[in-house]
């Protein structure tokens, strides 16, 4: 009997890299409750690679997107703009995911404005809850950075990067997702994406978080429905990881 594995044409096993994530650092300036960075045994480090060599590697792959992110926060590196500008100068389509936790200087804002896309992690419009979930993130500072980025693009006639708000869903912020859609629109961002929670062991001293499917899956589905309706009205792109909807509708748990 021929197995399905044997049926794979060899060319179907070839890689066609479109998106390359480069984790410039796995250190972070926040300790989000749901992130592996918060786990006691987590250790971060910086990527030790010369920017020119990195650019050579990336150019050979001809990706559609080079995302300068991983578990850590790239913008906390001292010379991150130098690396980013070098990659941009080599014609690479650079994007980033950032927590926007620190106040960016003008040079950083200008660098971000040159990116193809910028994904910003925002979990809720409730500043207190945000602070609890992200442990240190001040929403007003994040908002100020985002507003300055948009204003910089507009005042300098720069095509705005695709601004993607990324929200990791827990039982605490799930009901507030419709408000986050409005916030996304008010901040002139293009899209909001819901990320399915992978629940790590509880962190001592941090607010306890649960997956919405463990608390109120039907309420979560209603909140998603409301958010989708508002997003359609406001013209905001609303994405969610399919695994999130699956988990709310079917509810399978893995450990």
């Amino acid at each position: 009997m021929t197995s399905e594995v044997d049926e794979i044409p060899p060319e179907m096993l070839r890689a066609r890299p479109r998106t390359i994530y480069v984790e410039m650092t796995s250190r972070c300036n926040l300790l989000c409750t749901y992130c592996p960075v918060s786990q006691p045994d987590y250790k971060g480090e910086d990527l030790l690679m010369e920017p020119e060599a990195l650019a050579d590697v990336l150019l050979r792959a001809q990706p559609d997107e080079v995302q300068l992110s991983g578990h850590g926060e790239t913008t906390m590196l001292r010379d991150w703009t130098r690396v980013a500008r070098l990659l941009l100068a080599r014609g690479l389509p650079v994007t980033i995911t950032s927590n926007f936790a620190k106040r960016f200087n003008d040079e950083e804002i200008d660098t971000l404005a040159r990116f193809r896309a910028v994904k910003i992690s925002v979990d809720t419009t409730d500043a207190d809850l945000q602070f609890q979930l992200r442990r240190g993130l001040k929403l007003d500072k994040l908002t100020d950075n985002l507003d300055r980025l948009v204003a910089h693009c507009e005042s300098n006639f720069i095509e705005k990067p695709f601004l993607h708000i990324s929200c990791t869903i827990t039982h605490l912020n799930m009901p507030l997702v419709p408000d986050l859609v409005r916030w996304t629109h008010a901040r002139k961002a293009h899209a909001l994406a819901l990320v399915n929670l992978v629940r790590h062991p509880d962190v001592e001293g941090a607010v306890k978080i649960l997956h919405p499917s463990e608390v109120d899956p039907q309420g979560a589905l209603r909140a998603i429905e409301d958010a989708q309706r508002i997003a359609d009205e406001l013209g905001v792109r609303f994405d969610m990881e399919p695994g999130l909807v699956d988990s709310l509708e079917v509810g399978q748990t893995w450990q």
Binding site: I8, L13, R14, E241
Partner: protein
């Protein structure tokens, strides 16, 4: 251990994911994975990235998704949904076939051309921005000048209003003064009359003064005569004093002389008595008591 929440693929299904073919993550330690949650398939510090992407581990991951025989990481993936194996394979074929690769290459070429056009357009836009910037600068300057002029105009208007208010106030004041003028004229006439009277009085006083001056001169002359007389008297007085002093100096001498004379008189009396007594005895005369 982390908990993930999803739906597991059933028979004939697999994970709806093409990441093993088109996604790469290079971790900060050099490890390479084919999605955010899967196992490591190599390390760029030891092996060039293209080789890592074609490594046995990488192919095994692709094989698992292709066949639906998923490894544990893919089974518990909370990100992707579920698809039928056929649908997934169709998508992978579209993504990795040579034709698709050619299409992608063609699209990339087209994108390259479009980017060049975009770059030219951006340059042109930058040039226009420069022009716009200059015009905007000029506009800003003119705007500032206009604002200054408007401010100045507002200030002048305010000044004009203040002047008009002052003028009105002065007019009122002039009316008051006009009303006061006849009274002042009468007062001035009175003052002029009084002035003439005072002048007459002054003339009289001057004349009187002239008379007094003559009298004073006569008095002065008298005074001078009296002074001279006084001086003569004083000289005479000094002579008298000198004479008195001489007399005073002579007095002790005269007093001594008087005393001598008196003693001499007393002696003479005594001698006389002495001569009288025998006579009296002779005459029988008693001694007078």
């Amino acid at each position: 251990m982390a908990m993930s929440f999803n739906k597991a693929p059933g028979p004939g299904e697999t994970r709806d994911c093409t990441d093993p073919w088109n996604f790469v993550i290079v971790r900060s330690n050099g490890d390479v994975s084919l999605c955010c949650r899967s196992e490591v398939v190599g390390n760029v510090k030891r092996t060039p990235l293209p080789e890592v992407l074609e490594s046995d581990q990488a192919k095994e991951l692709r094989r698992g998704v292709w066949t639906g025989k998923l490894n544990y990481d893919c089974l518990r993936c909370s990100e992707r949904g579920v698809a039928t194996i056929e649908d997934l394979r169709a998508r992978v074929r579209r993504g990795v076939s040579d034709r698709a690769a050619e299409e992608i290459a063609s699209l990339r070429s087209e994108r390259h051309v479009l980017r060049q056009i975009r770059s030219e357009l951006l340059k042109e836009r930058a040039g226009l921005h420069g022009h716009v910037g200059a015009i905007e600068g000029e506009r800003d300057q003119l705007g500032r000048h206009a604002a200054t002029l408007e401010s100045e105009l507002a200030s002048l208007r305010a000044h004009g209003e203040a002047l008009e208010a002052e003028l009105a106030r002065l007019r009122e004041h002039a009316k008051v003064l006009e009303a006061e003028r006849p009274q002042l004229r009468g007062h001035i006439a009175n003052l002029e009359g009084e002035n003439a009277a005072l002048k007459g009085h002054a003339d009289t006083l001057e004349r009187e003064n002239a008379g007094l001056k003559g009298h004073a001169r006569a008095m002065d002359s008298d005074a001078r005569g009296l002074r001279e007389h006084a001086q003569a008297l004083e000289a005479e007085l000094r002579g008298v004093h000198g004479h008195a002093q001489a007399l005073e100096a002579e007095r002790p001498h005269l007093q001594g002389h008087i005393q001598n004379l008196e003693r001499e008189v007393a002696n003479l009396h005594a001698r006389l008595e002495a001569k009288r007594n025998p006579i009296r005895r002779i005459l029988g005369l008693a001694k007078p008591k």
